[in-house]
Amino acid sequence: MSKVDESTESKTPSRDELALEGIGTDYKYGFRDEEDYVFKSGRGLTKEIVTKISQMKKEPQWMLDFRLKAFDIFMKKPMPTWGNCDLLNDIDFQNIFYYIKPSIKGEKNWEDVPDNIKNTFDRLGIPEAERKFLAGVTAQYESEVVYHSIREDLEQQGVIFLDMDSGLREHEEIVRKHFATVIPAADNKFAALNSAVWSGGSFIWVPEGVKVEIPLQAYFRINAENMGQFERTLIIAEPGSFVHYIEGCTAPVYSSDSLHSAVVELIAKPGAHIRYTTIQNWSRNVYNLVTKRAVAHANAKVEWVDGNLGSKLTMKYPAIYLMGEKAHGEVLSIAFAGEDQHQDAGAKIIHGAPDTTSMIVSKSISKNGGRTSYRGLIKVYPDAKNVKSSVKCDALLLDEKSRSDTYPTMEVDEKEVSIEHEATVSKVGEEQLFYLMSRGLSQDEATAMIVNGFFEPFTKELPLEYAVELNRLIQLEMEGSVG
């Protein structure tokens, strides 16, 4: 058969076919489980809670010291004075549960996971996804990782994929050498908070030259109301290695807010390549204030693929420090803000070495009074010659209630560079809508098609199942949205 078959079946259409099946009408992850915990800290944060977390985890002294120091920094550091201060100042740090331990320990067999939690992740499709296409999975429920697996062949090649707590227990030396070297506790208030109370997250170490061809995945779930989830992820790619890590996030719908404040550190050693994909779909009462930063050494490549659909307020600016010659960084992100949502997302690239290159593509959609902001920084240090960087931001506004901001900053301290920034803000074109409707699509369908097309540069970078899920989510968001 000719190429027609390939392109109609294996490319975009099949994604859309899947995406259009079984569309619901609600936030489908909004269900909640009955609470059944081994330990739940009281509300609010004290030195005692920090110490207790560390003791329960039987951590080495240096980690406890690190936590306590971070706690002091957190208490002293003021809230950020930029961004959406109104929403930020609504956070009541004393009303949050900082540590909730759901089950005894991370299981390797799915059958051993407690039934209630297993049911939750079954409903979220986690083990199914693993069977289909993943090389390893971590599932975190509240503060602890409840399930974890990795393919045997990878384990044999020496790839370490553990939850962060186990990582610390089993590979203390590697952790100690790299932990908090990319994001120190004093970086910002939320990084300090995470450093004090972190629990769970992923620890990945890929030995020199090993290429993990299929993605490793983590899934983060908040269940309890007013829960604070503070996972900590550290990925170290030794020279010449490759790893693709994917995380997904959901939470139930509650009337009062929860806080998700992760710290993610990536270290790509010379010639290594890390791709980090996030699909964040928190419910609309979650503050998602995350610090993500990567260091790329010579010839290394780091990519953040970042999808922000849910949450009440997201503030997230994945950063890449290009510290070695010819390192390359990319941030590809989308944001979708609906009613009462503010997606304040962006990217930060620091060019600290010659011949480094970077690219940022940001696509955002605001709808129904939602607000999206792109906040970005491109910084070029002196002597970082032959730097090339291009930034492209496109925003689509779906109605007159919504808002879009673009706050890019370029700081250039070196002459031999080429820095480009471009941004557009527009609405869905009347001519496009008419064209599609003249082909029989309803206004909703036509708008969804245009929106999916708008996000396509992002979607095509996702593994198939994620692309399908994303299209489905967008379809959901678009239903009944245009009148």
């Binding site: 506004l397 808002r403 900053t409 920034h421 941004a423």
Partner: protein
């Protein structure tokens, strides 16, 4: 400059002295405004680099204790003394009126063509305008109008100007009137010794205030030159200007302002243009010299169909620092703004360009474009660019672009292969870089003047 022309130092100025700096015939409303601004000024913090708006422009080097605000100039001179200015005016060509304040000689000069009187146009030193009944009334009305508007930045510098301004110009064009030749305002300052930097400057602080009122369906060309004369023992440490354009329905204003100061001067310039229905402004600014230049150019598109075109060229040299901030404030539907800003930096000069396009909820069908290109000509030069968009309406066409790069190698190679030296080639490329902006300037004399000023700076030991 004689001691009488100076007031007490800014930092030691007492409240009861603020009013006393000025002519006794000032209207009561203005006296009150000065006093209340002075009180707010004392409370207001000095902006720091942490202030988003003042990012990378340091003001802590400015010692208020060493500044003496100038008093109104009273001595009129029939001829322009500065040869440099004379030459600039010649380039601009025929003028409808010329007003000049010369702080090197403590004199002012004013001359108007027949056209001005025939068409009932007013071009008056601000102090005189405040002393005359009709003009003072118009100024009071305009001041009240601005008070009613939200969003005017009332920071330490604006307040300082309101309280202490003793110089400036008032221009009024009645409706349905076309002024063919430009009205030219020139501010000549003592240059000081060439090696003086901002922090070591003493003496003068000048607070010009320029108010231009163009009534419905009229047109005006306005040129403003801020320069330093050739040699003088004194330095104007601070020029803190506030400039207002009130452009009523259907009126059109073409403005060109040229900043050509010496390294000892800190120039703070606040320009706001209020545009009525279908009103237009075509604004060009040129930063071609000054220790630190901090200039905010805001166009407020207040009514349907208003259009603003803002163009800028900056050529930095030595240790100069330029901070230009363009704001296009779309407050009404069907408004258009087009901003083109080009910066070239030599030596260890630095620039920060901030551009903000704000589109109000009601400003549907806004068409806004913003472009900032930076050319780095030296390794020690530094360019920052922050082009922002804040869009609250959905039916809009807004875009911006910004680039930072060195001189294009292929262009350089091409020119050198034709026998030009490297520096000749670079000069040619920079000239071309600016020419694309200069081509858009509607006032032809200004085009020539800027081309010449830019050329001499480009050639200057590149």
């Amino acid at each position: 400059m004689s001691e009488q022309a100076k007031g007490p130092q800014v930092s030691t100025l007492a409240k009861d002295q603020v009013g006393g700096l000025f002519a006794t015939q000032e209207p009561q409303w203005l006296k009150e405004r000065r006093l209340s601004a002075w009180e707010s000024y004392l409370q207001a913090p000095m902006p720091t680099v942490k202030n988003e708006d003042w990012r990378s422009t340091t003001v802590n080097k400015l010692d208020l204790g060493k500044l003496y605000p100038v008093k109104a100039l009273t001595k009129q001179e029939a001829k322009i003394q500065s040869a440099k200015l004379e030459a600039s005016l010649e380039k601009i060509g025929e003028a409808a009126a010329v007003y000049m304040e010369d702080y090197a000689t403590s004199t002012f000069h004013i001359a108007a063509s027949k056209e001005i009187a025939e068409k009932k146009i007013t071009v008056l030193p601000l102090a005189q305008a405040l002393a005359a009944e009709t003009t003072a009334k118009d100024l009071e009305k305009l001041a009240a109008l601005i008070d009613a508007k939200r969003g005017v930045v009332q920071d330490k510098f604006t307040l300082m100007n309101t309280a202490l301004s003793a110089s400036g110009l008032y221009v009024h064009i009645p409706k349905n009137t076309t002024v063919t030749a430009p009205v030219v305002m020139a501010l000549n300052l003592p240059a000081g010794a060439a090696d003086k930097a901002v922090e070591s400057s003493e003496n003068l602080a000048v607070f010009p205030k320029v108010i231009v009122h163009v009534e419905a369906n009229s047109t005006l060309k306005f040129v403003s030159l801020t320069t330093a004369s050739e040699a003088s023992s004194e330095t104007a440490a601070l020029v803190n200007a506030v400039v207002e354009f009130h452009v009523e329905a259907g009126a059109r204003v073409e403005v060109a302002e040229v900043t050509n100061l010496t390294p000892g001067t800190f120039f703070v310039n606040r320009v706001r243009a209020y545009l009525g229905r279908d009103a237009q402004i075509d604004f060009t600014t040129a930063g071609l010299g000054g220790g630190q230049v901090k200039s905010d150019l805001e166009t407020v598109l207040e009514d349907r169909g208003a259009q603003a075109a803002v163009k800028g060229i900056v050529l930095g040299a030595g240790k100069e620092h330029y901070a230009y901030n363009t704001i296009a404030d779309h407050k009404a539907p069907d408004t258009t703004s087009n901003i083109v800003f080009r910066v070239a930096l030599k030596d260890s000069s630095t620039s920060i360009y901030q551009g903000n396009v704000v589109v109000d909820k009601v400003a549907q069908r806004t068409d806004a474009y913003q472009s900032n290109k930076n050319l780095l000509l030296s390794r020690a030069a530094k360019a920052d660019s922050i082009p922002k968009l804040e869009i609250l309406a959905d039916d809009v066409k807004c875009s911006h672009g910004a680039t930072v790069s060195p001189v294009d190698r292929d262009q350089l190679f091409y020119l050198m292969s034709r026998g030009l030296t490297r520096s000749q080639s670079e000069e040619l490329i920079v000239t071309g870089f600016f020419q694309q902006v200069l081509d858009l300037i509607p006032i032809s004399g200004v085009k020539d003047l800027l081309a010449e000023l830019a050329a001499s700076r480009i050639e200057d030991k590149m």
